[in-house]
Amino acid sequence: MQQDKVHVRLLILAGVALFWMTAVFGRVAYLQLFRHGEYLARASRQQRRIIEITPKRGAIYDRNMQPLAMSVPVQSAFAVPSELKDTAMAARLLSGVLAIPQDVLRQKLDGGGTFVWIQRKLPPEKAEAVKSLNLKGVYFQEENQRYYPKRDLAAHVLGFVDVDEKGLGGVEHQYDDVIRGRGEKIVVMADARQRWFDGGEAQRDRGASVVLTLDEKVQYIAERELAAAIEKTHAPAGTVIVQDPNTGAILALANWPKFNPNAASDAPAEARMNRAISAIYEPGSTFKLVTLAAAFDQNLTRPDEVFDCENGSLVVGGRRIHDHKAYGLLTVSEILANSSDVGAMKIALRLGAPKFYDYIRGFGFGSPTGVDLPGESRGLLERLQHWVPSSIGAISMGQEVGVTPLQMATAVSSVANGGLLYKPHTVQQIMRGEQILPLNGPSSPAEPRRVIRPETAATLRHLMEGVILHGTGKAARLDGWTAGGKTGTAQKIDPATGRYSRTNVIASFTGFAPINNPAITILVSIDSPECWPHEGGDVAAPVFKRIAEQVLAYLDVPRDVPVSPRLVQTAYHQGAGAESDSLDDLAPVDFNAQTDFTGAGSKESPAKIPEPALPEVTVAVDEGGDISVPDFTGKTMREVTEACLRLGLNPVLVGSRLASLQSPAAGSKVRRGSKVTVQFGGTPAHAGNVR
């Protein structure tokens, strides 16, 4: 009886267990077999996160690998509105941190959907502040922010990018495909606390780095001198190009007005315009170089041939053209030196329109130079068939033809290098990591093209030197180097009258230095200088001189002209506090606030680079020696060397043991850096230097 009861209970328990197990397994089977897909998708949504790895743009360097543009990672905040429980509170909190109007945020968050940007590319402190709010439904996405650490330096060459890091100008646009890289999406798993794990390694393509031909020091010199000239002449615009005539590489390309690419959207379109390659102007007298080059190349004239310049007036094709000055008989070299329009016209008439046209085309006018920058203009050059009878006269002196500053600089470079026309370029190398990529497309190297004979180029170089020595370009004469160049004062069309304006001109100077082995070609173009005199020789030539002297010294180009001794002005140290405010503007990382402290794009205040105030005390001293040579007799080599180094003298040690003789004698006054020869021990073999 008892045993029967036990059996019954066991049976009930077994039945319950069987039922429970059947129910469990049944449910499991149902979920696995019938609702597998649904729950798999739900789990996937909860556990998986698809992370978009934004591509990192490659850096842009100058020729010395100084970074001019680089990207650093920043955080962008986004929200999943469906996960936000209280959008009003979230909007209020975020508004306080991000300084965005609460209404704007509320509108975004109430919009529904699964994704909405709160703010992109947050500064680190703001990102931390948002993170500290610990709002559910607010997440961060890593992106990259493009920075231009040198601000407006070389802005027109570098270009700029939009918020999605897409290149919109300059090299950034031209090489966007290689600089940008490719983005990638990776899948990571997240646990219940939204911690990531099991994330795959993203094979992100970081984008190639670009090494430019620009030199940031040369670029700065060019921009500084251009800004100073703009401030002095009150001109609205200007351009400076510094080019290596032997390769076509552009060392500096400066435009005014300029802009800060860190805040490119704030700059007017005019400031973002790369005038060096897209602004067309009538070159004026600088174009006489082409006229003379063609004539010399065709052996139609010689530098010493005399032309009658008709007292400054000549009728060509029924149109009377007046010279800027009434000249009589001039040699060809004097025609170029004095920039005689009538003389240039007579030479062009002897050359004839077809050949003249061929040479103009040969120098690259009327077609793009092929520079690896976007937006290049081809210039304006009427086809030969469309020339009117007076065209040859007008074009010979730089009218009725439109050129870009880069076309002009490239043409003059061909004269400087002996007659080869190189394709101007700004990109020297493209690198992916340590690997150097081949240059393709616009950056591919091209063989130079011969446009004039080397003899012709040599003759022109000599004549161009004459322009600087005793012509219209005297203000471009360099201290320490020979140079050649040509001034240009191109009258602009007055929109009111439709005729050439007498006051509105483009003053330019194009030249190179040194004469025999040119290292640089410089073009200076100042648009509408509001000063008098406003000729190229008065406005642009001094800028050429300033830039050339600094750049040649920087490039260690040996001097080929002795520097005449003269008094040296020595300025005493000025109080440091006076300009501390302007230096505060150059705080290292305040990029968003750096809207160009030099006032780029502002016509009212063109060049605000703080000029150094004149020193309160200026003392003129004779540079001839101020260091008294000590008596080295009986001293060791070490003692002599140390004493010389301490005084800034250059010791020349001869012999051994103790010092016995010296030159200059003890007590003599010498300059800093002078050589002091000291004889040790017996009489040296070359005793001539030592008394």
Binding site: Q66, P67, M70, V72, P73, E142, Y147, P149, K150, R151, L153, V188, M189, R195, F197, D198, G199, K217, Q219, Y220, R224, G480, E549, A553, P558, V563, P565, R566, V568, Q569, H573, Q574, A576, A578, E579, S580, S582, L583, L586, P588, V589, I609, P610, P612, P615, M637, T641, C644, L645, L649, N650, P651, V652, L653, V654, G655, S656, G673, K675, F680
Partner: protein, 137 residues
């Protein structure tokens, strides 16, 4: 069911000594071997299961650690980039120019003040150049 008139039952306590020492359990070797095999197999399976579970959770744990390290690596790279950016900013020629002119009071050298050296720059080099030949035998 025991009546009152029946005499009481006398119970005797006897001690019965049972010696089981001579009993020998019969062991079948085949069964024992199977038992050991089964137990061993079970242990192996259990160990494999434990190993699998350990590996699984260890893998997840390492994934967390890896992800943390990746984050730290990214942060370090970001910091590195920011520092490079700061260096580039500090090397801005315009900034250096202003510092030189206004804080240090430097001015541009005139043409006469710029000296060219035909050989190596620096008097130290000159000294070494002349001392060495003199020491030669």
């Amino acid at each position: 069911m025991v009546g009152k008139n029946k005499p009481a039952m006398v119970e005797f306590h006897t001690v019965k000594r049972i010696d089981n020492s001579r009993l020998v359990r019969h062991v079948e070797p085949l069964k024992m071997r199977n038992l050991y095999k089964t137990a061993g197999l079970g242990a192996v399976v259990a160990i494999c299961c434990m190993l699998y579970i350990y590996q699984h959770f260890r893998c997840i744990d390492l994934s967390f650690q890896l992800e943390e390290l990746r984050v730290r690596q990214q942060q370090s790279l970001g910091l590195n980039g920011a520092l490079k950016l700061e260096i580039a900013t500090l090397r801005d020629p315009q900034r250096i120019d202003l510092l030189a002119r206004h804080q240090l009071g430097l001015t541009e050298p005139t043409a006469e003040q710029v000296r060219e050296y035909s050989a190596f720059d620096g008097s130290e080099v000159a000294a070494v150049r002349y001392v060495r030949p003199n020491r030669a035998p």
